[in-house]
Symmetry: C2
């Protein structure tokens, strides 16, 4: 295929943009196991979820049968400000690698939040506004989700309270300032603004916080303040639903040029990007209409798919959230301080966990220095400075392309480039200064946290 | 005009992208005055310029007659990785302002360097490579130009030595790390690596550097090392030529939908973005084919057009560079420490200066707090966090749209959104914390530096 046939960047027209999200669960014969109440061990009902989450989002969370859910006009209007995102043909990378493979990437970083997170943030903010709420609360670690939610809330005039893990609040002041510029209030967690925060501060005066603690604070504020609900940026089914816009656009763009991918690659933390990217392709696979190799890439330091256990577990380290059946390293597992904050989650989306369990997808793990090597190579050749999370997918895409070089196969590889690395330059500096190291947990470490999984049934 | 007629973002196809740059000077009856030798006060010849600049770039610098200069295939290939840039219809901003005006912006921030600077960096790197050079040297202050040049050099495998003003090197470590990730060597200036740097350090041991000093170091290294040349990111005619790609794309996109702008607005520091954006429109105006209001926006703290003098002056504060006839505040003018580093230049492109002098364009100046107010408003409504430089154009675009609201006129406004503000969050923090102030130089201050202009003829 010559360069003139497929452009460097395939952009859909506005008419070609998806008008409905695709609900992958509708095509799954074995549905993901339901969220369970941590006390009663019974499947959570809509009634139990609505004090925490917005009503329509609860409905989406529990809907396992409707294949397509219309994207409201207001959300489609917002999508048009930064979408469609380009599907890029990596001609320069192919040439540099001297591979017969054809490499494409769906680039989600061309918006101020810098990642795909905005796709779900705007949806969740919309439903909160529609319900007449005053505002929403959330937690953020690395800051991509908090930034995205701040942008979405600014657009709809909603109040946005972000509990930011204290160590990130202090180490990533620029992320914090973006959120503040969008009008969000950003509170370092643990804080004196909540009961749970006060309790933790009393017990651990010098603590720099954790995601589990920030979740607890955000949930407390949402449930105690009338007109507020809590929102979450990954793991949940509703989030995968909204993120299906990534995969739907990708498929339409490929179809325009008659391209059928052989391999689809995405990085996996909680699963929001991977689940969104693969959705329509996995749907074809589930319906027996097509076959694809689908590869989840996770950090070797936090290998939930490749070394975790498929079982019910808490979604948060604070153990206050519902139980989800998923591949997990145990909610007490503390990943080493790697630089892909968005992938440092002990568990995984229940939908993706079920699909992996049932053999519909593969998973692999990669070490951080090799990830940054790929990131640097990609930046220099394709021009884009990738987020460390995204670079996990780049690593495996390059490896697969190099295998094609050996075998001479002209495979078509598609990967998700979820975001940019502008706020990750401390990590790049460590790599540039050759001060970055790898850490792989021992079997004993994983076994120790898995041993603490809640006993269910 | 309804929303369905013009999309939110107009993207050209690759076939529609410009194949030649437009040399505005070819259509000027009164040409810009030539660069002069600082010692002899004679117009500089190609022979005198080639020890410093690449040969083909010198030819472009001196060419006043060729209207279109072909963009080499290699540069067009690189352009396709991040161009065409979108021309965005600011529907959301229009709605929020309740203005009958139609607002468009050409967004140049969707690349890792974060600005339009890459358009000229890749061209200059290409010609250096073609000439068989080993590398190039440059200076950078705020860091956009240094980043862009690092990316371009990485692509062509050229060595890149960036002298970064020491205070920026220390205060903007992330900019530095992006450059290092692209393989550039970044040296804080003044440094011990040059004679001029050693001299300055001996005389001023604690100095945090200046752009003038960094230029001197970069030029010294380029001229003393075989296989190296010096490159510059603004002011020069060659840079405006390369940046014409912005205006050419804008015009093609508008023409596709039969849109004729009434007002074209750009921020102006050295003039590279403004000169590029307006090029084809100004060409029509010069040829008497169309008329447009063209507005240059500069910071009130560094008002070269609105309060400067049209005269020969040094381009650098170190007074080692050629003399250029331009609107200038005097090369000894020290602008207050405002947050739009890219606009803190005492002079202006000679081409734009001549056009302004001859009445083909207007200029206005705005104060920084009002610029950040517009930046925040724009970010919240249109989603993009703008660079402080770009926000100068946003400020005036909003003001013009509000005038239309008063008069009821449905004017079409086009402005240049040159880049993103991801590396300017210290400035946003100051604004968020209400710690930002304005400073306007007094008449006496400007008169004092203008009095030191070199005596020519």
């Amino acid at each position: 295929m010559s360069k003139t046939e497929v452009p460097y960047k395939i952009y859909l027209t506005e008419d070609e943009m998806p008008k409905a999200w695709y609900n992958l669960r509708a095509d799954m014969k074995v549905k993901p196991a339901p969220l369970m109440h941590p006390g009663t061990h019974k499947a959570l009902t809509a009634e139990e979820l609505t004090p925490i989450f917005c009503e329509e989002l609860v409905a989406q969370e529990l809907d396992e049968t409707t294949p397509f859910i219309e994207i409201p006009e207001e959300i489609r209007g917002f999508y048009k400000m930064y979408r469609p995102s380009p599907l890029v043909r990596a001609y320069c990378l192919e040439q540099k690698l001297q591979t017969p493979a054809k490499i494409y990437y769906k680039f989600e970083g061309n918006n101020t939040s810098g990642s795909h997170k905005l796709n779900s943030a705007i949806a969740q903010a919309y439903y909160a506004k529609k319900q007449g709420l005053k505002g929403v609360t959330t937690e953020t670690g690395a800051g991509q989700w908090g930034t995205a939610l701040s942008m979405a809330c600014a657009y709809f005039g909603l109040d946005c309270k972000v509990y930011m893990v204290k160590v990130s609040y202090e180490q990533k002041p620029f992320r914090r300032e973006v959120m503040r510029t969008y009008g969000a209030s950003v509170v370092p967690s643990p804080s004196e603004t909540t009961e749970v925060g006060k309790k933790i501060l009393a017990e651990h005066p010098g603590t720099t916080g954790s995601l589990g603690c920030a979740i607890s604070e955000a949930v407390e504020v949402a449930t105690k303040n009338p007109g507020y609900r809590y929102v979450l940026g990954s793991v949940l089914n509703q989030v995968l639903l909204h993120q299906s816009v990534i995969g739907l656009e990708t498929k339409t763009a490929l179809d325009k040029y008659g391209i059928k991918p052989d391999i689809i690659i995405g990085c996996a933390g909680g699963g929001s990007n991977l689940g969104g990217l693969i959705a329509p392709f996995m749907g074809e696979k589930l319906r027996g209409e097509a076959d694809y190799r689908i590869i989840a890439v996770e950090p070797a330091s936090c290998p939930s798919f490749t070394r975790g256990t498929f079982a019910y577990d808490f979604c948060d380290t604070g153990m206050i959230c519902p139980l989800a059946k998923m591949y997990t390293l145990g909610s007490s597992f503390i990943p080493s301080a790697n630089h892909a904050g968005g992938l440092r989650f002990h568990g995984m989306s229940t939908t993706l966990s079920q699909l992996y369990h049932d053999g519909y997808m593969e998973a692999t793990s990669v070490e951080q220095t090799s990830v940054f090597e790929a990131a640097e190579q990609f930046a220099r050749i394709e021009g884009i400075l990738p987020a460390p999370e995204s670079a996990h997918a780049i690593r495996v895409a390059i490896d697969e392309a190099l295998k094609c070089k050996e075998t001479g196969e002209e495979k078509t590889i598609v990967f998700g480039l979820t975001g940019t690395g502008y706020f990750d330059l401390v990590a790049y500096q460590k790599y540039n200064d050759k001060e970055m190291s790898d850490y792989i947990p021992t079997d004993e470490e994983i076994a120790a946290s898995v041993a603490k999984l809640p006993k269910v049934e």
